[in-house]
Symmetry: C2
Subunit: 337 residues, 2 copies
Amino acid sequence: MSKKYNICVLGATGMVGREMIKVLEERDFPIDKFLPLASERTAGQKVTFKGKEYTVEKAKPESFEGMEIGLFSAGAKISAVLAPEAAKRGCVVIDNTSHFRMDPNVPLIVPEVNPQAIKRHKGIIANPNCSTAQMVLPLKPIYDAVGIERLVISTFQSTSGWGKEAIAEMYEQTKTLLADPKAKITPKYIFKQIAFNVVPQIDQFTDNGYTKEELKMVNETRKIFEDDSIQVTATCVRVPVAIGHSECVNVKTKKKIAIDEVRRLIAAMPTCKVVDDPAKGVYPTPIDSAGKNETFVGRIREDISQENGIEMWIVADNLRRGAALNAVLIAEKVIQN
Amino acid sequence: MSKKYNICVLGATGMVGREMIKVLEERDFPIDKFLPLASERTAGQKVTFKGKEYTVEKAKPESFEGMEIGLFSAGAKISAVLAPEAAKRGCVVIDNTSHFRMDPNVPLIVPEVNPQAIKRHKGIIANPNCSTAQMVLPLKPIYDAVGIERLVISTFQSTSGWGKEAIAEMYEQTKTLLADPKAKITPKYIFKQIAFNVVPQIDQFTDNGYTKEELKMVNETRKIFEDDSIQVTATCVRVPVAIGHSECVNVKTKKKIAIDEVRRLIAAMPTCKVVDDPAKGVYPTPIDSAGKNETFVGRIREDISQENGIEMWIVADNLRRGAALNAVLIAEKVIQN
C-alpha cells in the first residue's frame, strides 16, 4: 500500500483554503490525517473534506506535531510565525503568502516550470503570487526555446484575489448602483469603487511608483526562471470580475521564433491550453477559467512593434491555478521526491 | 457682432450625437441655424438644444444645403455616402467615424495636438478613435521634448464605446446574474458576456491577429504625430464600465527625461490633468472621468524594465473627450481659421 500523509490546511476557511481542500479531494491526494486550521478569527467554523465535517482548529505551534505537509494560506503575518514552527516539527510548509517568496532559502515553485528547485527546500516552499504563477506557465517553453529579454504586463485581476470580502463588496456596490446610479459608494476592501469601474492599484505603493503586486511579478518571475536578466514591468489593475485573472503580456524574446511555433509550444505545455482562433471569435475570458485547472492562452500574435516580439492574453482561475492547485501540485512533487 | 454658423449634427440621437449637442451648448458655440439629423432608423425622434425641442430629420444630400459645419457620428457607412455630399455643398464635415481617418486627403485631428493639420482639409476632417484621442494628448509634450520610439498599450474600454445598446446589455446581464449567478448569458452587442467579465476583443479581427480597434491605435497615432517611425502595439479590452476608457501605456522615448519633468509637461498640456499621488492613493479611475472634459493621467513612473521608459495610466470620458468634445474643438478651430 502506498504511503499516506498527515496534511493540514492553515487558512481553511478562506477562499484559497477552501479551494485547497477541494483540490485535495479532486486529486485524491493520499491523506491519512486531515487537519483544518485557521487563525483565532475563524477557528471553530466547519469545513467538509471527503464528506466528513471537520471543526477548524486554531493554529498554534503544537498543531503541527505529527503533520507532514502544511498548506498555508492565512496571511503573511501568520506564515511568518507559524511556518518555521511547522518546519521545525518536520511538517513541510507550502506557503501561499508573500512572506517567504523572495527568501533565498525558500524555493519559489510552479511545479510545471521549475520542479528542480523543490529539492532545495529546508522545510518551507513558497507558492508564487497568483498573477505570476499563471504567467510563467506559457512563458516557460518560450524561455527554453529562445530566451526572454523583456516583459511588459498589464493585468485585469478579479476581486477574489483580495478575498471573499472583496467579492461581496463588488456585488454589494453593484446592487446599490443598479438601484440608484448616483448612490455614493464608500469602498472598504478594494481601494476605490470597483463596481462598474477599474482600479489601477493592487496592494500598497512602493517608493518607485510601482505597487507591491507589480514588483512581485518582476521579482518572482526572475526567481522562478533563475534569471535576473529578464526585464519586467507591470501595471496591475483590479477589475469587476469575481474569479479569474487576465493578463496582457508583451514578450521580447532573445531570438526569432515563428508564432505557430509559440502556439505549438504553449499547447504542449502541461496544464496550458491554447484558446486562440480569432477568426471564429475564440479567445479566453475570465469567466471561462473559473473552476478550471488550466491556464488559457489566446490572442497569440506577432508583435508588430518590435523584432522578436509576441503578444498574448493569459487567463486562469486565480484561486485555483494561482494558488490552491499550485500548492497541491507542489505537495505532490514533495511526496514523489 | 461676431459671425454665427449653421451647424448640423448627424447621428443626433446616438450617445456621441447627444454628447455633441450638450458640448455645443456648454461651450456656447456661435450657432445660427441648428439642424439635428439621423439615419432613417431614428429620424423623427426629438432632441433638445438650448431649451428648444427639435425633431430629428432624416439625413439626405440636400439636408446640407446652407449648412456650414456638420458633426457626423452616424456610422462609417453613412459618413462614406453623406460626408462628400455635405462637403460638396460647402458644409465642412467633422467626421467621428473611422471611414476617412486614414484617407491622405483628410486631416485627422486632436486640436491640442496637431491643430496645424486642420488647414489642409478639403471639406472633411476626421476625429480619431476615442482611445487614440485621449492617449496622444499626454504623449504630445513628451514627443516634442524627447521623441517617442515605441508604445505598448493595453486598454480597459467602457461599453459606451459600442453604443447605448451595449451599456444597456451590460446592465441587463448584470441584473440577470445578480438574480441567478448560473444564468446563461447570450451576448448580443458585445462579443462575449461583459457583466463580471472582460473581453479582449473590440471591433473585428484582421489577418495579423490584431483587431481593427488595435490597428486604429497604431495607425492613427502615427498619422496624428505625422511620424511613421513610432512603433505601436496595442491590446484593446472591453471592461464592464459604462463610461470612461482607461489605458495602460508603456512609452519608450528617444532620449532620457526625468519623471518629474514628464509630470510637469503633462500638467502643462491643455485639457490634461495629472492625478498622481500614489502615497495618498490618488490616481484616476474611469468613473471619475465620466462627464469631464479633461484627460486624467496617473501612475506616472519610470519604467524599471528599459532605458528611457515611462509607464502611465490615461483615463478619459470616451464619449466626450474621445468624440464629442474633440469634434467641437475642431469646429472651433475651423471657424477661427
